[in-house]
């Protein structure tokens, strides 16, 4: 299949691996920011193919996982309002909050519907004018422009029953927060491919400039990831950190100006709460005052009560890259994909789910 098979070619992969093996002398730990990368790395078995000098550590790049319990509780409370139809990406459905999930709320009568795009939520709003349709806006810079576009479309169409609960988050500030905390030594960051398609590879130049840490932006096929690793090994060995775009078929230095324009028109940057990172300044997207009438948080003030964290769950530490999933006492014991305690076990991009599902075999 075009654009897939070329990037899974075993011979090219072996060549890249050989060059990584030859070049890599000192032990390095790279963080793959994106949960999509974590899953691709596990699915294709890349960890075991890399030389022992190269360690990969997953980061906070799973939008579902970094959503704070307080925000999940708020979404559940909102969904339980009688007039509300909650439209959400499938990933969010089973994520546990303090007391339950959107799925349990649905079982108790809340109208929660899975959509593939915020535009599907617009359709629902058109179809039932007597209901208030709330789109659960979870995601990074990849998702936010589409949500912004749906708000602009609702405005243009005079739709008055469409709302967004904006929990969108920005990736560069989270990366800064992890490096500032200094809890985990990182020799490089594998930049998130889809996010960088929107924000552009220049958005990562602060990494070599402010932290001396190289960054290689990667796509999601095995060769994409290996190319990025090879580039970072090269930068680490040569002591010349920079930003390498190893995903040039998707990413431009300046990003996608149209998407950025729409996003900035509708949203403004503000503080956001991240699971694992706490409140991070200038790391979230809130609706601008001129679009406030689409803001679900304003239209439906709900009080979900104080958020509660599950004792023992180490999702926060996993998201900061401080520990790996098997280090969590609940992993594979109390916490499994069937009975998840933390979000990293639920989401298709969660690190715990990847470790659980693709756990490497030592045979």
């Amino acid at each position: 299949m075009k654009y897939i098979d070329e990037f899974r070619d075993p011979q090219l992969a072996r060549k890249l691996l050989a060059s990584i093996r030859t070049r890599s002398k000192r032990p390095v730990r790279f963080m793959e920011f994106c949960g999509g990368h974590t899953h691709a790395i596990f699915r294709h078995g890349l960890r075991q193919m890399l030389p022992p000098t190269v360690e990969l550590r997953s980061g906070p790049g799973c939008p579902v996982c970094v959503t704070a319990n307080a925000d999940i509780d708020r979404a559940i409370a909102l969904a339980s309002e009688p007039r509300v139809v909650m439209a959400t990406f499938g990933d969010m459905l089973r994520v546990p909050g303090s007391h339950g999930s959107l799925q349990t709320a649905r079982a108790e009568g809340a109208d929660v519907r899975v959509v593939y795009s915020p535009l599907d939520a617009l359709q629902i709003a058109h179809g039932c004018p007597e209901r208030a349709v709330v789109f659960l806006g979870v995601g990074f810079e990849t998702t936010a422009p589409g949500v912004a576009a749906s708000i602009l479309e609702a405005e243009a169409g005079g739709l008055d029953n469409f709302y967004v609960l904006s929990l969108h988050k920005l990736t560069p500030p989270a990366t800064r927060a992890i490096l500032d905390a200094g809890e985990v030594r990182l020799a490089g960051i594998i930049g998130p491919g889809h996010v960088t398609t929107v924000i552009g590879s220049r958005a990562w130049e602060f990494l070599p400039r402010d932290y001396g840490v190289p960054c290689a932006v990667a796509g999601f096929e095995p060769l994409d990831i290996l190319r990025a690793v090879a580039a970072m090994v090269e930068m680490a060995e040569s002591g010349q950190p920079g930003v390498v775009n190893a995903y040039s078929r998707g990413v431009r230095p300046e990003g996608n100006r149209t998407a950025l324009g729409i996003m900035r028109r509708v949203f403004e940057v503000g503080e956001a709460e991240w699971r694992g990172l706490g409140r991070v300044p200038a790391s979230g997207l809130a609706l601008r005052p001129e679009y406030a009438r689409f803001d679900a948080a304003r239209a439906f003030p709900v009080d979900p009560g104080p958020a509660r964290e599950h004792a023992g769950c180490r999702c926060g530490d996993v998201l900061r890259g401080v520990v790996e999933p098997p280090d969590c006492p609940l992993f594979r014991r109390a916490c499994t994909p069937a009975q998840p305690i933390g979000p990293c076990m639920v989401s298709a991009e969660g690190a715990c789910a990847a470790w659980y599902r693709y756990g490497e075999v030592d045979v």
Binding site: P63, L93, Y116, H194, A348
Partner: protein, 347 residues
């Protein structure tokens, strides 16, 4: 979820050794009766030691019409295939209909006509049935339950617990076609090459395999086929895990040997799903003694529903109970059981 229900509820209360086998079809030995089996050209009247296969399944698919089939075709194929996986020649089906008030008669007729055509193609007859109408909102248009009986020819001993180290794993064709067709219909996704369900009755394919194994001149025997499974819900990965668990063996699969149609791969990539976990309705996996693998592969490829059959892996004594996948890059990883439903990702 349903796995847990079976273990904790149904097995506990319906406790009996036949159910405890947990194969897709129950095979019951009937002796001391005189049976005249009619309606099947392949079956001679049997007097005793008859092995009867019996199975049931309910169909609630939405939409009820989809490219490559409809709920009626599915209801016949599903039950016929469950019987066939037990090695049985399917003979008779029952059909129970639960109709939501307001279902257009024309839709029902289209479904029933399709069931009849599929039954003819599978050489089975629908000989008993039932209809209930429920209030609007109490069902989603139309639900169908079918049950089926068949007879198992002498010498055929198939089961999830009969697989041995050394067996060859043969898949009858591409995976993921049915599940991705239904999902794309539900979500209104369109692709350049259309997705079509693989929904098909597999008893002819099974008969072709068993016939090929029972020609005495080359010393082959139907006993060389150890297990047949149709990887429906949960897909190929789930079926392989079930068999690895029941037979207490390891299974090694070559990822690039598993045929997947481009349209299915594209749809899966788009939604972040793995075709190995997507449902099929017209495919089977055969676990066969290694010396007979070529015979089975040739027999499958000569049949219309097995043209793309391929050897996808081997059964091992190592890592018993687990399925291991070799990726195209040569890495090995566990291919686990599907937990919950596959949900499309955010980004």
């Amino acid at each position: 979820m349903s796995h847990e229900l079976v273990e904790r509820l149904f097995l506990r209360y319906f406790d009996n050794p036949i159910l405890a086998e947990l194969d897709d079809t129950a095979v019951v030995a009937v002796s001391g009766f005189r049976f005249q089996v009619s309606g099947s050209p392949n079956q001679r009247p049997e007097t005793s030691n008859l092995k009867l296969a019996f199975t049931t399944d309910s169909y609630v698919v939405s939409p009820i019409f989809f490219p490559g089939g409809d709920i009626g075709k599915l209801a016949v194929c599903g039950t016929v295939n469950d019987l066939a996986m037990g090695g049985a020649t399917p003979l008779y089906l029952s059909a129970g209909f639960i109709l939501e008030e307001g279902l257009p008669l024309a839709d029902l007729e289209r479904v029933v006509a399709s069931m009849a055509a599929t039954a003819r193609a599978a050489s089975v007859q629908v000989v008993t049935g039932d209809t209930k109408v429920v209030d609007r909102g109490k069902a989603d248009r139309l639900f169908i339950n079918t049950a089926g009986v068949g007879v198992v020819p002498a010498g055929v001993e198939l089961g999830g617990g009969r697989v041995r180290p050394g067996d060859v794993v043969i898949l009858s064709g591409t995976v993921g076609d049915h599940g991705m067709t239904i999902m794309s219909q539900r979500e209104g996704l369109r692709f350049d090459s259309p997705l079509v369900s693989d929904c098909a009755p597999l008893n002819g394919l099974v008969a072709a395999v068993l016939d090929a194994l029972s020609s005495p001149e080359d010393g082959s025997s139907v006993g060389a086929a150890h297990c047949l499974r149709d990887p429906t819900r949960g897909g190929l990965a789930t079926t392989l895990n079930e068999v690895a668990g029941k037979s207490d063996v390891g299974i090694e699969i070559e990822e690039c040997a598993v045929p997947v149609r481009d349209a299915v791969r594209a749809a899966c990539e788009l939604l972040g799903l793995d075709p190995l976990y997507v449902a099929n309705e017209g495919k089977l996996v055969a676990f066969v003694a290694p010396e007979m693998a070529d015979v089975v592969l040739d027999a499958m490829r000569a049949h219309e529903y097995g043209r793309e059959a391929a050897v996808i892996g081997r059964v091992t004594a190592e890592h018993a109970g687990r399925v291991v996948l070799r990726t195209p890059l040569g890495a090995r990883r566990v291919l686990d059981m599907l937990v919950g439903e596959q949900l499309p990702r955010i980004c």
